[in-house]
């Protein structure tokens, strides 16, 4: 295991010494993935609610699309978004390629199907009668939806964790559309890749540890909500 320990210790030293501007990288990660995850939740959870509760023509097709979307290779997303935003592409005028907004777009495309598909499944497990009961007590459609999401919180948290996880850990697409520009679009994952390519496994692992620590903290917070539902169970 010496190979790990050595590498890791070296990397940690480097991060702590401030030789690398770790915190700017972390900040960019938080900004980009935070924005993307928020958007993914804002769009994906309502989509999941509709897919999980309503019956309409094309619903099954949309479920297939969402499920398929979870298999969308991030590099393909990156490629397509890059082509769209490239100077020669249709949205070239916006000059968005290699900027944070571009990364947010790509990550959103990656996380959206996950959030939508998993929350659709979660919401569909809430008995229809419970929704009718809420409605019969005066709930508006929004209040009814909110109640349903609360009932489905275990699955919903899994959806959020999966969406967040897919985004924060993603590297292919953000590299392609962000360009890994130091201080601008370099995020934790792209920095990890860079260190790896440079053979600097130490900082790579140290950054990975920082990343995992962040994910862990987020998930510990999410777990509180998740298990708050179980307080009431037998």
């Amino acid at each position: 295991m010496g190979i790990f320990v050595d590498a890791f210790r070296g990397g940690l030293d480097m991060l702590v010494s401030g030789a690398t501007d770790v915190w700017s990288i972390v900040l960019v990660s938080v900004q980009v993935s935070g924005a993307a995850v928020l958007l993914a939740l804002v769009l994906g959870i309502p989509a999941g609610f509709v897919l999980g509760t309503k019956r309409f023509i094309g619903r099954r097709m949309m479920l297939v699309i969402a499920n398929t979307g979870m298999g969308l290779p991030p590099v393909v997303v990156g490629l397509v978004v890059a082509m769209l935003l490239s100077r020669r592409g249709p949205f070239g005028k916006l000059e968005l390629l290699y900027s944070q907004p571009a990364m947010v777009i790509a990550q959103l495309v990656i996380a959206l199907p996950i959030v939508a598909a998993v929350s659709a499944a979660a919401v569909s497990a809430v008995p229809r009668e419970l929704r009718l009961q809420a409605r019969s007590l005066g709930a508006s459609p929004w209040q009814e939806a909110f109640m349903t999401l609360k009932e489905a919180r275990m699955g919903l948290i899994a959806a959020i964790a999966a969406g967040f996880g897919s985004i924060i850990s993603e590297v292919g697409a953000v590299t392609m559309v962000g360009g890994n520009l130091a201080g601008k679009t370099r995020v934790m994952t792209t920095a990890i890749v860079q260190y790896t390519r440079m053979g600097d496994y130490g900082p790579a692992l140290a950054l990975a540890a920082v990343l995992m620590g962040m994910v862990l903290v987020v998930n510990i917070l999410l777990a509180r909500v998740q298990s708050s539902a179980e307080r009431f169970e037998a």
């Binding site: 100077r87 360009g179 890994n180 890749v193 790896t196 390519r197 440079m198």
Partner: protein, 265 residues
């Protein structure tokens, strides 16, 4: 037809074949050279099959250190020297070189085309009129770039507005060229990669031919590697006249010019 990443190696290898790992750079692989070189090697040395792992020069040498590669084909003379001195390689031989070019927008806002020598070019770039993309990945290209700055006594990261013009991509040549294109800035590229991806770029060669822009490739079998015999055989073959001839002709058909100049002793 365009070059493809698939090696024409349809028959399953006979059992007695030894497999060894060649760690090389992405730029070499992306140029398509291995697609002709490897089949030729395997034909000449039927007892071997080669697995090419394309990574940055830095990682390639790390693979050597870890004995995950049996032979390296890299272009980072200073690092190669250190690698040899640390005792990781059995020997190092020159294989070929290609040359670096400085590319940028045709409008050439920094005016490097008309600048005198390379030092003047670097100084002009350091004025920060347009972004300069550095690969910043310890690759051969990156090493060469840093050498050029040093030669001109410029420390780009120390300039006042470095964050605005000296952009670190931390990526391979192809990606860095794409970013350069989007930013309509400058970068140092190996000729092969530039020619390969030129079609998608609005960039032109602004400086070429300067002596300091040569890019020397070396081959190093890894000491104590599991399949050192294969690595050594590869070194012997690639420095042979037969292989050197293949290298000298590679690219003529596609680009109208050779991408590499063989120079094995």
């Amino acid at each position: 037809s365009k070059s493809t990443p698939e090696a024409a190696n349809p028959e399953p290898a006979p059992v007695e074949k030894t497999k060894f790992v060649l760690a090389s750079t992405t730029s070499t692989q992306d140029s398509g050279l291995f697609d002709v070189l490897i089949p030729a090697f395997e034909k000449a040395n039927p007892e071997y099959t080669v697995e090419v792992i394309a990574v940055g020069s830095g990682e390639a040498m790390k693979m050597g250190e870890n004995k995950d590669a049996d032979v390296l084909l890299v272009h980072s003379p200073a690092a190669e020297k250190a690698f040899m001195e640390a005792g990781f390689g059995t020997e190092r031989r020159d294989v070929m070189y290609n040359d670096f070019v400085i590319v940028g927008p045709a409008s050439d806002p920094a005016g490097i085309k008309s600048a005198g020598d390379l030092n003047a070019v670097m100084a002009a770039l350091a004025k920060g009129k347009a972004p300069f993309m550095t690969r910043d990945d310890k690759s051969g290209t990156n090493a060469k770039e840093l050498k050029l700055w040093a030669g001109a006594s410029v420390s780009p990261t120390a300039t006042a507005n470095a964050a605005d013009w000296y952009l670190s991509t931390g990526q391979g040549m192809g990606e860095t060229l794409k970013i350069t294109n989007e930013k309509q800035g400058y970068t140092l590229s190996d000729r092969a990669t530039f020619l390969t991806s030129k079609g998608a770029l609005d960039l032109v060669i602004l400086r070429e031919g300067d002596k300091a822009l040569l890019n020397q490739y070396g081959v190093i079998p890894v000491k104590d590697a599991a399949h050192l015999d294969g690595g050594t055989a590869f070194m012997e073959w690639i420095t042979s006249a037969e292989a050197q001839k293949i290298i000298g002709e590679f690219g003529i058909e596609k680009f109208g010019q050779a991408l590499f100049t063989p120079n094995a002793q």
